[in-house]
Amino acid sequence: MHVIKNGTIYPMTGDAPFVGDILVGDNGKIEAVGTDIPAPGAEVTDASGYAVIPGFVDAHSHIGGVFMESEDLNELTKPLTPEADSWYAIDPKSGQFDTAISCGITTSCLIPGSGNVVGGWGIVMKSGKGSVADRVIKHPACLKAATGINPKGVYSKKTQMPMTRMGIAFLLRDYLRQVKEYMEKKAAFEKDPSDPKKKPEFDLGLEHGIPVLEKKIPLKVHTYMHDMTTVVDIAREFDIMVTIDHAQGASDFYDDLTDEHVKGVVFGPISAGLFPGEGGKIDYECCKGLDDRGVLVTVMTDGPVTPENLLIYQAGEAVRKGMDPIRALGMITCNAAKLLDVSDRVGSIEAGKDADIQIYTALPTQYVAAELKMVMIDGKIAFNQDNRISCK
């Protein structure tokens, strides 16, 4: 048992912040949240004067799978690799997870890169110790896809389709069509198994698309600027859920992004000057714009492409563009958890949820000098900045 006492708790459940205690059980779950919780015999962390918030959830990252000299998340031998699965690419012992923890990121959605039109399955897992199996909280979490200059850049060099956005849209649509037909054939055979010739041959790539067509997982699409209209058009056609990832230029397309097929927008990372084409609009005001319109919006690190501490800076820049600091905190906690369908486990501080908690000297989406003091994952202390937080 562990009790975090007298901190200003931001529960991110819709309830306002309050000064209180969090009781963490030996099973790594939050047992109770309230004021003056009796906890005889529990370890005590004194958080008085500090902000206590949920661990951050990074909804788009490649840590553990992409390094400087080698990477395992871009299988660039053909533009459609739906059969690939991030699970097998992640090195759970990578130091990049330690960096993530030191920036308060306790959960990440780890996905294939954006070199392929369809890249494979993504996974949601915790930072911390243990194997991928120990730390996974959702698998498959999504099917990664990509539009625009990244797949174009890879295959233009090989004079292979897709060399154009036309080619990308065709390949993406054609893959989804094949999954749909595969599912129909499977269903027909299941209904009438009398003719074994009608049993469709097992196809792992198409199998991986089934949960997308069944709306059990979203298609997670690397998308900038006008490509988001292409993605929403295809989502409507196949009646699937999509998330729009990167999303620079989103403020030009609010009408499309409020479509029921858009599960949410994962904005960022905002760290480049303007450049022509996909870098032609950098609009972090869209975080507030989307939030005001009821769209689930979050920001991401794209780690290790940008360092993990950028998650908080980007939320901060959304605040500079008029977003309320607590709504901005929501972007990188409860919103990201909902967007990834893991809000039953993480993203908020309430009884029954995983004890993924961090303590700052002040609200980090408001005060720039707010310093991270402690990170807890599954009830265990994963980061401890100094002795102020003592675990007696």
């Binding site: 084409g277 500079r320 707010a370």
Partner: protein
């Protein structure tokens, strides 16, 4: 123009309430209760925080090339035909409109140092520019602000992989040493080695002029501060050893280290040797060297007296928020605005040799100032109300940000 009732953060550590008079782009008066002259424009800055415009010491703003041209080609500050190009001048790479379109004023920047890349041992001379304008010469606050050098792994990546030198740090350091020696011994018909007219006769006509060595002579004399990019503390120690003979009479080489990756709390020799450090960020990189940036260590050195400036990435992906974000990172360490703001304003101005013109809010300086709704080194809620560059409003809250 009069700006009344604002809270001034002067960029040198002082914070005070005062009025401010600007005449022809220059701050002429800072005093309480100034009264507007007849017809003088008066801005009420009550409740606002007035900071100097941020200065990015090392930047690539205004550089065209790989990502910005109709026909992609080399970045104009990246002359990879030769690792030793001290004779090149970055002014000729600077496109005023390419800098202006980035609207750096909307991010609190008013002045930028523009530099050759870290890919050459000697890249060429640096220059300082305003952030808004068209004509590079009208925007230029100072040409020849420094000589850009680098002993980074990037040199090996740029050349060694093509099968040409340098493939190793051995080459890099031996050439650093050799080029400086050649410059010290350089003599031509026009320029005797000691620079004295009477020696001319004695030494007689020398070799044909060597523009590289002539540029490096200006480094030895201290006219051009030597900004050397390093990957780690070892690099810094090697550089110091090599340039040491030129840091004292008859030479006056001024050494500044750039990047600062891998410099930690125990590198206090930098303070004893009085060598400033320009920090580059790791904001947009998958560079394992840049990830070694130890801000906690650098902050502790700064507390003990190390001169530190905060800059941005060495990459054609320039980041408009870099100086502010590094300031925010430094605030998390030092928690003292009076130490951090100078790293973004008056210290860069001093290192670039433009501290007589800008980098602080003082009478006689250019009106390169930013009115913020709150202190950006305190809260993310701080928004820019107006950015003045040389007294001219180049960004106002509500202005639409440009697109490409």
């Amino acid at each position: 123009m009069l700006i009344k009732n604002g809270r001034i953060h002067d960029g040198k550590g002082k914070i005070f309430k005062s009025d401010l008079r600007i005449n022809e782009g220059i701050i002429t008066e800072i005093a309480e209760c100034l009264t507007p002259a007849d017809g003088e424009e008066c801005v009420d800055a009550a409740g606002l925080e007035i900071l100097p415009g941020f200065i990015q010491t090392l930047s690539f703003w205004g550089i065209n090339g790989s990502s910005t041209e109709i026909r992609p080609s080399s970045d104009d500050n990246d002359e990879l035909s030769d690792p030793i190009t001290p004779h090149l001048d970055v002014r000729y790479a600077f496109n005023g409109r390419a800098a202006t379109i980035q609207q750096l004023g909307a991010f609190g920047l008013t002045t930028v140092g523009v530099t050759p890349t870290d890919n050459n041992l000697f890249g060429g001379t640096m220059a300082v520019f305003e952030v808004d304008g068209v004509n590079p010469y009208k925007m230029c606050l100072k040409p020849y602000a420094g000589m850009k050098a680098s002993v980074c792994k990037k040199l090996k990546d740029s050349y060694g992989k093509r099968g040409v030198a340098p493939q190793t740090k051995m080459w890099i350091f031996s050439q650093l040493s050799e080029q400086l020696r050649l410059a010290a011994e350089y003599k031509t018909a026009d320029q005797p080695s000691d620079g004295k007219e009477e020696s001319k006769k004695e030494e007689g006509p020398g070799k044909p002029r060597d523009m590289k060595l002539e540029a490096l002579r200006r480094v030895l004399s201290g006219e051009l501060p030597l900004f050397v990019s390093i990957d780690n503390e070892q690099d810094a120690l090697h550089v110091l050893e090599i340039v040491k003979p030129y840091r004292s009479e008859p030479y006056a080489l001024k050494l500044i280290f750039c990047n600062g990756f891998g410099i930690g709390a125990d590198a206090s020799w930098l303070i004893e040797e009085n060598i400033p450090l320009v920090i580059r960020s790791a904001s947009m990189t998958m560079d394992d060297i840049a990830m070694e940036l130890d801000l906690r260590g650098v902050a502790s050195l700064a507390e003990k007296g190390l001169t530190v400036a905060l800059s941005g990435v060495d990459s054609s992906f320039q980041i408009r928020e870099d100086v502010l974000w590094l300031g925010i990172s430094m605030m998390k360490q030092l928690k003292d605005e009076s130490r951090v703001l100078p790293m973004m304003t008056s210290i860069p101005a001093k290192l670039l040799g433009v501290d007589d013109k800008t980098g602080s809010i003082e009478a006689g300086k250019r009106a390169d100032i930013v009115l913020w709704s709150a202190n950006p080194l305190e809260t993310y809620e701080a928004q820019i109300i107006t950015t003045y560059m040389g007294g001219k409003a180049i960004y106002r809250k509500g202005d639409e940000l440009r697109c490409m």
